[in-house]
């Protein structure tokens, strides 16, 4: 396999990642391009799309890392950091955020460093899953609803693992936008983003069940993201334009859920005793304000995956 580092195309910068093809560079109205010129133009367009997709994956991984950073800071502070390992996700997510954020704007640290940071984030996330499962299992009642509700959230470290994984993907996309770990890049990203959405929706489902779905809006994150995940997975399996369009709509809606969720959770915080006047306590007590943007991060990665599939199929 040849590894090709493609040149950056200035035209791509600032263009929406939400499926619009950027304007083809060069060419005037009266000139009919020849075959070679058309190929160059198509190549340039593909390069731009791939570049953009890579950055979008960084953005998605960064949003995930930010969500994990804020959420674990809040929740582990609530847990008084009684186990020293509870600092690990904060450190790891901070590093992941610090590397993904600049990469979103094109600035890249050395690849091995980036790769190491993302690998560490993934490893911390996986270890966190183990810690949280242990925390649940050691309580009276073991694997019970009560412990799933109130012990360490079983699926939360999953988001950090995903952030690390997608960060590594983004790093590698910079070298080869067609394949990742030997798999077709777009499809692998689509499949994992779909899996991530399902996992995140399951976590929201569990915790919203704990809240007895007392607000009808609590059903949104357990309906829209799974539908989007299904469409994204289907689009990964079958390269049909209609499926991709539907997946794109679903992912945009999922991203909106991730953004709106912050507002809903803030509203939830305000419904605790003392409302915003008692913010320091209610932020800890109420629904986790930083959690919903996980959906935004995963939706961005799903959209990037669609763009990559389109670009690579072109």
């Amino acid at each position: 396999m040849t590894t090709l580092v493609r040149p950056r195309t200035p035209e791509a910068v600032g263009v929406s990642t939400f499926g619009e093809w950027p304007a083809v560079a060069g060419g005037d109205g009266g000139h009919r391009p020849g075959l070679r010129e058309r190929r160059v133009a198509e190549e340039t367009v593909r390069d731009a799309a791939e570049e953009r997709a890579g950055r979008t994956v960084h953005l998605g991984a960064g949003v995930l890392a930010l969500s994990v950073l804020a959420d674990s800071a809040l929740e582990h502070y609530r847990g008084s950091f009684h186990n020293k390992a509870m600092v690990a996700p904060l450190v790891s997510a901070t590093l992941s955020l610090a590397t993904n954020a600049p990469a979103t704007f094109g600035a890249r640290a050395p690849l091995p460093l980036l790769d190491a940071v993302q690998a560490a984030a993934a490893a911390t996330g996986v270890a966190g899953l183990g810690f949280h499962a242990f925390n649940i299992g050691k309580r009276p009642g073991g694997l019970s609803w009560l412990n799933l509700f109130y012990a360490a959230p079983v699926g939360a470290p999953f988001a950090l693992a995903l952030s690390g994984f997608f960060g590594r993907c983004a790093v590698r996309l910079a070298g080869d936008s067609r394949t990742l770990f030997g798999w077709p890049a777009g499809r692998l990203l689509a499949a994992t983003a779909a899996g991530g959405l399902i996992g995140t929706a399951a976590e929201a489902g569990l915790l919203h069940f704990r809240g007895a779905y007392h607000n009808p809006a609590m059903a949104l994150p357990v309906t829209i993201p799974p539908v989007a995940a299904g469409l994204l997975a289907a689009a990964a399996l079958k390269p049909a334009p209609a499926l991709r369009r539907a997946a794109r709509v679903g992912l945009v809606a999922t991203a909106a859920v991730g953004v709106a969720g912050v507002g809903f959770h803030l509203f939830g915080v305000s419904r605790n005793m003392g409302g915003f006047r008692n913010l320091s306590q209610n932020l800890l007590n109420g629904p986790p304000v930083p959690a919903p943007p996980s959906f935004l991060g995963l939706a961005l990665i799903g959209l990037a995956a669609l763009s990559l599939m389109e670009a690579n199929d072109a």
Binding site: P140, G141, W145, L146, R210, H214, N285
Partner: protein, 558 residues
């Protein structure tokens, strides 16, 4: 006081001395300083129902009857609290919620009326109850037939199951996803609360002994509902919840009742039910704002709980009914039942801080549902405990006999103490009763004499529970374990329901056998008490009674 020129004197807002529910408005319990409109009736209006008491029985019934279109005036001797403004985190101050009027207690085991068996507030004792909301074991409704003790209720458990559901939804009970005992029940409206350390000790003990345990279904919110925020685990539940997370009658049934057109009269002590020459109730004589008044009513419902209900019926004696109203069976005031409330206490090495959160977050009903291995009739549940500091020092002083330096030393261990406490079924005995003393209270009404003695079965149940809980506490790792042998809670059974006018005071509809427009709707009607807290059952009976009244009215049989 002489008014100062230019200064407007505002009327007193002391709810203990000045009624709040007057002039077409009642306190809005959800908004500080706000009011909610209230329909008002004049004393001369013959309302459909005059209800005496606004607790679990009277409050729920007032709401349902008003929603069915009946005109309702509900009286309560207690104040109309605004929990957000009137309640503080202070045990002594909050004793204002208890019914501490003068009473005479006697018998072999004299009761201690007060904090855990009565209340004097609009909303009744649900304003300070521990929120434990349990259904009866189905067999208890036919205890005589199926279990061989006590009496059968004239109610079918399957019908009660639907009314339990209605109450659980109204109170938005936060309970376990699946309940380990009894027939299948619908999921509780809200999820269970997180267990505190005291509840985890109960769980550890139960698991060590191989018996099931559960998060307790509680009438305090685990998620927001309407204008009530979720519980913040202050742990002041039994002295009155100041956040409105507790779903008391004051916050649930009564706002609905007001909306449906009921009138609630606070600081209104009903002293007598009047009747006409035909032996039908004509209304109630009540004391409010310094004078006696008379409210005309087509029906009177007595819902004053197991001491005040028989007291009122007995105090309403007349030439036609010299032994008191509804008392041709001679059973008014008899068969007073408490529930045993003994505990086992110990110390844990780790910090427990049992007072954080609702006091009884975990329980086991094992000995309510298991009939083998018992040398007694009836059953008991036991629950984790979280006594507040003044209450705890009282227990140490009164029950363990500690005083001076010993008491101070024991209080140093407050954060490490842990306990398990039963709600145990006591048997109905006619000798346990409420009668009238010759002394009178500040209203000039004869005060009640409350006579109570355990029977051998009660003592065997208590001994069994103390021995079992001691083993459970040891298994959980507690040390310095000791028994609190003398405590009771909940009062029931002084106007029992039944199928036979000779052996009961009211029928299944809570209607007095002797006076067809007189009803009793509270814990007094229980023929047996079971081993669970009674508030849910009282409210379920009230819901059923309301439905029956609606049906009877439609048939012209009211």
């Amino acid at each position: 006081m002489k008014p100062t020129p230019g200064v407007t004197m505002l009327p007193s807002d002391n709810p203990l001395t000045t009624p709040r529910a007057t002039n077409g408005r009642a306190p809005d319990v959800f908004r500080p300083g706000a009011w909610t409109p209230m329909r008002c009736w004049s004393d001369d209006d013959e309302v459909d129902f005059a209800i005496v008491g606004t607790g679990a029985g009277g409050g729920a019934l007032a709401c349902k009857l008003a929603e069915y279109g009946f005109s309702v005036v509900a009286f309560d001797a207690g104040p109309y609290w605004r929990p957000l403004e009137d309640f503080v985190s202070d045990e002594r101050e909050q004793s204002k919620l208890y019914w501490t009027d003068e009473r005479i207690v006697d018998g072999d085991n004299p009761l201690r009326p007060g904090s855990n068996n009565c209340g004097k507030s609009v909303g009744g004792s649900t304003v300070h109850f521990a929120m434990v909301s349990l259904r009866f074991r189905p067999e208890w409704f036919k205890a005589r037939t199926t279990l061989g003790y006590g009496a059968d209720w004239p109610l079918d458990w399957r019908e009660m199951w639907t009314y339990y559901r209605e109450v659980e939804e109204t109170l938005t009970i936060s309970g376990p996803v699946t309940y380990p005992w009894g027939p299948k029940r619908p999921r509780y409206p809200y999820r269970p609360h997180e267990l505190n350390a005291a509840a985890l000790v109960l769980a550890e003990g139960a698991e060590a002994l191989g018996i099931p345990w559960s998060a307790t279904p509680l009438a305090t919110l685990s998620a927001p509902r309407g204008l009530s925020p979720p519980c913040v685990y202050r742990g002041m539940c039994v002295i009155g919840c100041s956040t409105n997370a507790k779903q008391s009658v004051l916050l649930t049934w009564l706002p609905r009742a007001l909306k449906a057109g009921a009138e609630i009269r606070d600081l209104a002590m009903v002293g007598r039910i009047e009747h006409d020459g035909r032996g039908l109730a004509t209304g109630v004589r009540y004391h409010r704002e310094g004078r006696w008044r008379f409210q005309r009513a087509r029906n009177v419902v007595v819902a004053g709980y197991a001491i005040e209900t028989p007291r009122l019926l007995l105090n309403s004696a007349s030439a036609k009914f010299p032994d008191g109203l509804a008392n041709s069976s001679g059973l008014v005031g008899k068969n007073l039942m408490v529930q045993a409330n003994q505990a086992v206490w110990g110390l844990m090495e780790r910090e427990i801080r049992a007072y954080k959160g609702p006091p009884s977050l975990a329980l086991t009903e094992h000995w309510n549902y298991k009939d083998d291995g018992k040398d007694f009739f009836g059953g008991y549940a036991y629950m984790s405990q979280g006594p507040l500091p003044v209450a705890w020092s009282s227990v140490l002083a009164g029950q363990r006999g500690l005083w001076g330096q010993g008491l101070l030393d024991a209080m140093q261990d407050y954060n490490h103490q842990v306990g398990l406490k039963i709600v145990g079924e006591c048997m109905a005995q006619e000798r346990n009763r409420v009668t009238l003393a010759d002394e009178t209270d500040r209203y000039g009404l004869k005060i009640p004499r409350v006579t109570y003695s355990y029977c051998d079965n009660d003592r065997r149940l208590i001994a069994h529970s103390l021995a079992f809980m001691r083993v459970a506490l040891e298994a959980a790792g507690a040390r310095d374990i000791w028994d609190e042998t003398d405590d009771t809670c909940h009062l029931n059974g002084t106007a029992r329901m039944g199928d036979d006018p000779r052996t009961s005071v009211v029928d299944a509809d809570c209607r007095a056998w002797d006076m067809r427009n007189l009803w009793v709707c509270d814990g007094s009607v229980f023929p047996t008490v079971g081993g669970v807290n009674p508030s849910l059952t009282i409210q379920a009976i009230a819901c059923r009674t309301a439905d029956r009244i609606k049906t009877l009215a439609r048939r012209g049989e009211l």
